[in-house]
């Protein structure tokens, strides 16, 4: 007789928790979803991954022209171009990952209504598409440091990966909340671009954080992306030293975002197929 090695019990109101063992069993699917998104992204494009470079570069040029030359925003000792590019590098990652994640569940409704797998894989794998773009865009950053004769600090280089991870956590936490909300309320589709637009101004991408009165700066660090960008500017462009206290607040706040997002996701997850 065949040995029974699996027993599944299907009941209403399962416990709201993540089944890590099951996730591990489905790890290949995680990889395949990411792989699919990357493949599809660059199909039928003329310059493919070139867009990952052109887009932030062009934005940098526009920002430099308008915010630096016209509006006169100063960027301290470093040229505004590389200053804003550092911000854009991480902000663009966040903006695209946040957008991808919040659309991920609705975008995959065909699969969600037809087959079982841990749903969390979909939004989680959606955070990785932007990482590929991030690495392409980093090449431009390297080019800019050579052009402006800036030697990035060692501390900054070591912090790139942790800051990317912090951005991923932030994008996942906030995105997953809106992704779950999107399943029920399609209004989210209108809200997400709006949030990204506002977020650009609530994050020191265009301006240095020193523009904000000192006593309010901690408020900004509730926005994890703000600390990500500050840390990178301090570390890579030698703009003061890294503010570990504010970074600490940001890590905490990112974890809170993730916790809220995951909790809401798990609470609504079991109805996805019913209402999507």
């Amino acid at each position: 007789m065949r040995l029974i090695f699996m027993e599944i019990v299907i009941q209403p109101k399962k416990k709201v928790r993540i089944d890590w063992k099951e996730l591990w069993n489905y790890r290949e699917l995680f990889y395949y979803f990411t792989w699919r998104d990357i493949k599809v992204r660059y199909k039928q494009t003329l310059i493919g991954a070139g867009w990952a470079i052109i887009q932030p570069f062009a934005t940098m040029v526009v920002f430099t022209l308008f915010f630096n030359k016209v509006a006169g925003i100063k960027s301290g000792a470093v040229p505004y171009a590389i200053f804003s590019y550092t911000g854009l590098l991480f902000w663009n990652y966040f903006a695209s990952a946040f957008g991808q994640v919040s659309n991920s569940l609705v975008g995959n409704q065909g699969v969600i209504t037809k087959i079982y797998f841990p749903r969390i894989i979909i939004p989680a794998s959606a955070t990785l598409l932007g990482v590929v773009d991030f690495f392409f865009a980093s090449v431009v950053f390297a080019g800019l440091t050579i052009y402006y004769h800036i030697t990035p600090g060692l501390e900054g280089l070591l912090m790139i990966i942790p800051m990317l991870v912090l951005s991923i956590i932030t994008a996942l936490g906030t995105g997953i909340f809106f992704a779950s909300l999107n399943v029920k309320y399609r209004d989210v589709r209108a809200i997400v671009p709006f949030i990204i637009q506002i977020g650009l101004f609530l994050t020191p991408v265009i301006y240095p954080v020193s523009l904000i009165p000192h006593k309010y700066q901690w408020l900004l660090s509730l926005n994890p992306m703000s600390s990500v960008i500050n840390t990178m500017r301090s570390g890579l462009l030698h703009q003061g030293s890294i503010n570990w206290a504010q970074l600490g607040i940001s890590v905490l706040s990112a974890c809170v975002f993730l916790w809220i997002g995951l909790t809401y996701f798990k609470r609504t997850e079991r109805q996805f197929a019913d209402i999507i």
Binding site: R2, I4, M6, I8, V9, R36, Q44, G110, V111, I115
Partner: protein
């Protein structure tokens, strides 16, 4: 004695149906949510809750399936088959009760789930395999077999959006057919593709079954169930109406269809569609030999004339096999509905079918982008076709064949 591989205990599933959702399978908006919040205090104050309509898609279902069983689940549209399947596949959660499944399950509610049009055939095999729960090693190991089964070798590196629908289905089914689960749950996926391919997939299914795996097979197609399944479960309005050996259950099913067809069309409850326009009556008018004339009456509750509609009458035999599907749109015939009620006549010059009992399905929808389904009644009427004297020779045509043709024989004169 081993335990059953699937145990279903007191399973129920309830859906809320809001009125605005009926038409557009709607997604709620914030506005509705805000309105809901506003209603709460009113409910609290008045002490009675504004009721949402509840719909029980499944009511207290119990059954067991043992290892190696091949069980067919039959029932009309809307009887709860799909809901049951979705619960067993863990796509939706039950409202009450539980299911215990012992073994590795694969469910196929659709072929080609997760296929991406931009990806090539090769890429989609890998992706689809992973979505269906195959390990990378497994997919790679069976890759050549899958490709051979699908017969699309030449187009393996072409994006599937350029595939014909036949190729698409073949590739999708090929991946699914190479899953090796202990329990296989299959929806009407076999009803796709051409006849040859259907045959191929049916024989694949029975070979799966011969290997001692458990198969749960949902279908409209009674003859497929009869060929494949040893046991069957008949669902009706969310409850089990009969369970047991396939022939017994199939007979019950035929009886229930016959009983339903006796009911006046107007009073039928088991209809689908949004109900804005419904069929109220079907009358067979006196007609010459070989021909059939029907008058279908409708009631339009929208209060407006409806310009373009799609109407179809399907003729099915007693096993549920569709003999003909007569749709006005293939004739480019426009039909308009009056704002109140009216009649539509169907005129069949020659009913080329063997004598016997047949059932008619009635379907009415709008013929625009929305293709709103107004009404669908399965087995809405029963007709008796008497073609014993089809050839005007007082000789009865062979009853074993279904179709009757006009034909003559000639021979070379010696």
């Amino acid at each position: 004695m081993s335990q059953p591989v699937i145990e279903v205990k007191k399973l129920s599933k309830m859906y809320h149906i809001g009125h605005e959702r009926k038409g557009m399978k709607g997604t709620a908006t914030f506005r509705d949510a805000l309105l809901g919040v506003a209603k709460k205090p009113i409910e609290l104050l008045t002490g009675h809750r504004l009721k949402k309509e509840e719909f029980w898609a499944l009511k207290d279902i119990n059954f067991n399936i043992n290892q190696g069983d091949i069980v067919g689940i039959i029932g009309k549209n809307g009887s709860g088959k799909s809901t049951l399947l979705k619960i067993l596949s863990r796509i939706v959660e039950p409202t009450k009760g539980e299911v215990i499944i012992r073994g590795k399950v694969a469910s196929l509610l659709e072929v080609g789930t997760g296929f991406h049009p931009e990806l090539t055939g090769r890429e989609n095999i890998l992706l689809n395999g992973a979505i269906l729960g195959m390990k990378k090693r497994e997919v790679r190991g069976k890759f050549d077999e899958i490709v051979a089964f699908s017969e699309v070798e030449k187009f393996l590196d072409t994006p599937v959006k350029f595939y014909s629908s036949g190729m698409y289905v073949r590739l999708a089914f090929a991946v699914a057919a190479h899953l090796e689960p202990e329990i296989l749950i299959v929806d009407e996926v076999l009803a796709v593709g051409d006849a040859a391919f259907q045959k191929k997939s049916l024989s694949k299914m029975s070979s799966v079954a011969r290997e001692g795996r458990t198969v749960l097979f949902v279908s409209h197609n009674i003859s497929a169930v009869q060929n494949l399944c040893t046991r069957a479960i008949l669902l009706r309005d969310g409850s089990i109406q009969a369970e047991g050996p396939t022939p017994v259950v199939v007979r019950k099913y035929a009886e229930s269809i016959a009983a339903a067809a006796e009911q006046p069309l107007k009073e039928r409850k088991d209809r689908q569609g949004n109900g804005k326009v419904i069929f109220t009556d079907c009358q067979s008018l006196s007609s010459p030999r070989r021909a059939l004339k029907l008058k279908l009456s409708y009631l339009n509750t929208t209060g407006k004339n409806i310009d373009d509609i799609k109407i179809s009458v399907a003729i099915k035999d007693q096993r549920g096999e569709t003999m003909a599907n007569l749709t006005n749109t293939v004739l480019d015939q426009r039909i308009e509905l009056d704002k109140k009620e009216g009649g539509i006549y169907l005129n069949i010059e020659e009913v080329n079918l063997a004598s016997g009992e047949y059932y008619l399905d009635f379907f009415l929808a709008s013929d625009d982008q929305n293709s709103e389904i107004f009404d669908l009644v399965e087995g809405g009427a029963r007709i008796e076709i008497d073609n014993r004297d089809f050839y005007d020779t007082e000789k009865q045509p062979p009853t074993s064949a279904i179709a009757l043709f006009d034909f003559t024989y000639h021979q070379d004169k010696a």
